[in-house]
């Protein structure tokens, strides 16, 4: 298994993006959620055990640049096609988690001929009045683990690893990273993560798998049913003992569900 990390110039020099690449086999592109993605993510390693994985970081995340040119959903959707072009990939398996799932679904709806295998893991993008998605932008750090994870204690260990918020240097880096990331994410998620996707879902032709943590307290499993109703032939797979961060809590189960796209 090879592991590569590199920066790509895309969109004729307009943006630069960091890409993590690993594994071999059929190409699979993974689009991360609003919290970002680290190179040593165990989920990436799990994917790389079976596929040739490409995980690009959205501008505003890591050292990817060019967020100022991405203002709305269409910009982000087309940007993601620019990434596939730059990687030279033709119809890879497209997988997205949370915000990344919203982007992947938009790509499949905007260009149905370009996406034929689609996996949406607890995707954002729809709104149900009966199941309001909490306002993550106004949450304090200590409020997040209980929302994001099935097991809040495990979540807290995951989220506080590697730093001390009382150290000014770490705090500054943390605030700047968080601001860059969520300023970008906010363009498609703030104040309500709905940019009209429900009107476009019918266009999706890809074989689609939806994967949901049974105990998702951010985007309730009811959204899985709503996506299934909107995408012809989509299949919903629920994962036990997992919350919104199902890819962290149950990576093996997620990989198992993804094999349906092989």
């Amino acid at each position: 298994m090879s592991n590569r990390s590199y920066v790509l110039d895309i969109a004729a020099g307009r943006r630069k993006i960091r890409v993590f690449e690993a594994g071999e086999g059929r190409p699979l592109v993974f689009l991360h959620g609003a919290g970002g993605l680290s190179e040593d993510s165990p989920f990436l390693a799990a994917l790389a055990g079976r596929w040739h994985v490409f995980a690009p970081l959205l501008p505003g995340y890591g050292d990817s640049e060019g967020a100022e040119g991405l203002r709305d959903m269409l910009d982000v959707t087309l940007h993601s096609f620019d990434v596939l072009d730059a990687l030279g990939l033709d119809r890879p398996i497209l997988v997205g988690h949370s915000m990344g799932g919203m982007i992947a679904a938009e790509m499949a709806a905007v260009a149905p001929r370009e996406v034929d295998r689609l996996a949406l893991i607890a995707p954002a993008g729809l709104w149900l009045d009966a199941h309001p998605v909490p306002d993550l932008f106004s949450k304090l750090p200590h409020e997040l683990p209980a929302l994001l994870f099935h097991d809040p204690a495990f979540g807290e260990r995951m989220m506080t690893a590697g730093g001390d918020l009382d150290d000014p240097k770490f705090l500054e880096a943390f605030i700047i990273r968080n601001t860059r990331q969520l300023a970008m994410a906010g363009k498609i998620l703030f104040p309500i993560p709905d940019r009209g996707l429900s009107e476009r879902l019918y266009r999706i032709r890809a074989k689609t798998v939806l994967i949901w943590g049974d105990n998702d307290r951010v985007i309730a499993p009811a959204y899985g049913d709503a996506f299934c109703r909107g995408i012809a032939g989509a299949e919903l797979i629920r994962v036990a003992s997992a919350g919104h961060m199902v890819i962290v809590e149950q990576p093996a189960a997620v990989v198992g569900a993804l094999t349906r796209l092989d």
Binding site: A67, R71, S138, E172, F190
Partner: protein, 414 residues
């Protein structure tokens, strides 16, 4: 020196246990706490106070804009200024502001400000705040990451609309107008004086200096932060080669004047406590939606050790500590005079926005403090910047002859 009498217009009936029962005075405070019948009295009392301030010699009357906020009951500052325009005759109407990125299309602000300037005979000071994150992002749903771009575009549209003599095409990213055409246009040329409320972002310094706009630092958190922030501002003025007229800058200060230091504490203490305990009880999660502040500003705050203001931090301070830290300037006329002189000279500001009504202060006390400041403090501060008093760039230019409202015609009079 110029003095603006300003009232945030707080709701005076927040319950005693507000801090315990509710997480925030702003954004998600239940509107069941608002009683419109009581509100009728409150608005009219506050407007009476502003009108009174003109009669005792304040140079301007200040109003501002907040949303979903129980300590700032002016979602539409222009409505308040319109009410004042007819019942006052001399003072500047300092509207701080309209948050120009919140209006669709923003030419609405050009129109309303022009109306105010025309009705008042050229007495408008036009404030263009970005608005707080609570107001713009949380209460009004603007996306944090594009708010400043929207603001810049709205500013450009308003300036062009005031300057143009013909309809023009405005093809912005957020606003597209085939016929941008501002009727009426303001009396003051080329435009009413523009004040920009800022909180320390570097981009705002440059924007003010390059356009000759007044930089207004509006804070409830006193000297220390203000001194660092204003030092940085004046340093930037020098770097850009602009003159150092103090009239480029405005500072807001809570001021309580009594006959003696002891009287000030006794009669105003409870209302100051109401303000810092109940009015400034804001959920920290609403303070700053990610993307509201630019990376450059965050880095500069760390570099300059400008602690972020935490609205709740003053809640536990005693009267003495509030004075010592400069959150309030309070005491006898002599005490207040001395402290204000130091503040004005240290910060190098030509305008003071006087927060004299505080929290749930009743009308008689408000009048007492307003009068004492006007009669026993203001005269001693007037001349501090006398060498710059010919600088008219940052203040109103009313018509020399202005119409006053005619008595209401009645049947009997006919």
């Amino acid at each position: 020196m110029r003095f603006v009498w300003f009232n945030l217009m707080p709701w005076p009936d927040l319950p005693e246990d507000f801090r315990e029962k509710y997480r925030s005075v702003w954004v998600d405070i239940p509107s069941a706490l608002y009683d419109p019948v009581r509100g009728h009295e409150v608005y009219n009392t506050y407007l009476d106070q502003l009108e009174f301030a003109e009669t005792v010699g304040y140079d301007g009357l200040g109003v501002n804009e907040h949303h979903a906020n129980a300590y700032g009951l002016m979602p539409s500052p222009c409505l308040m200024a319109a009410a004042l325009a007819r019942r006052t005759s001399r003072a500047a109407l300092v509207v701080l502001g309209s948050s120009i990125a919140l209006y669709d299309p923003p030419i609405r602000v050009a129109e309303e400000f022009a109306m105010l300037d025309v009705i008042s005979g050229g007495r408008l000071v036009a404030g263009f705040p970005v608005g707080t994150s609570m107001d713009t992002n949380y209460a009004y749903g603007r996306v944090p990451g594009t708010l400043r771009e929207r603001y810049a575009e709205a500013h450009e549209l308003i300036r062009r609309a005031w300057a143009a003599d013909e309809p023009f095409v405005f093809n912005g990213r957020y606003t597209k107008l085939r016929y941008a055409n501002c009727w009426p246009k303001p009396i003051q040329k080329p435009h009413p004086p523009i004040f920009i409320p800022g909180g320390g972002s570097v981009e705002t310094y440059d924007f003010c200096i390059e356009n000759n706009y007044n930089y207004s630092y509006l804070s409830f958190f006193g000297f220390l932060r203000a001194r660092r922030l204003m030092e940085n501002y004046w340093q930037r003025v020098a770097e850009l080669g602009a003159d150092d007229s103090p009239y480029r800058a405005t500072f807001a200060q809570i001021i309580c004047v009594g006959e003696t230091d002891a009287e000030a504490e006794r009669i105003y203490g409870p209302h100051v406590s109401y303000f810092f305990n109940r009015c400034l009880h804001v959920f920290p999660g609403f303070a700053d939606a990610p993307g509201y502040r630019t990376i450059k500003t965050i880095q500069s705050e760390f570099l300059n050790q400008l602690a972020r203001p935490n609205l709740g931090q003053a809640a536990s301070l005693s009267w003495g500590e509030l004075i010592e830290r400069g959150y309030i300037v309070a005491g006898s006329p002599d005490t207040v005079r001395e402290r204000m002189e130091e503040l004005i000279k240290t910060l190098r500001v030509g305008n003071i926005i006087c927060g004299i009504h505080v929290g749930d202060m009743p009308p008689e006390k408000t009048r007492h403090s307003t009068e004492l400041f006007a009669k026993k403090v203001m005269p001693h501060l007037r001349g501090i910047w006398k060498d710059y008093d010919n600088d008219e760039r940052f203040w109103i230019h009313p018509l020399p002859q202005r119409v006053t409202p005619a008595p209401i015609a009645t049947e009997a009079a006919r």
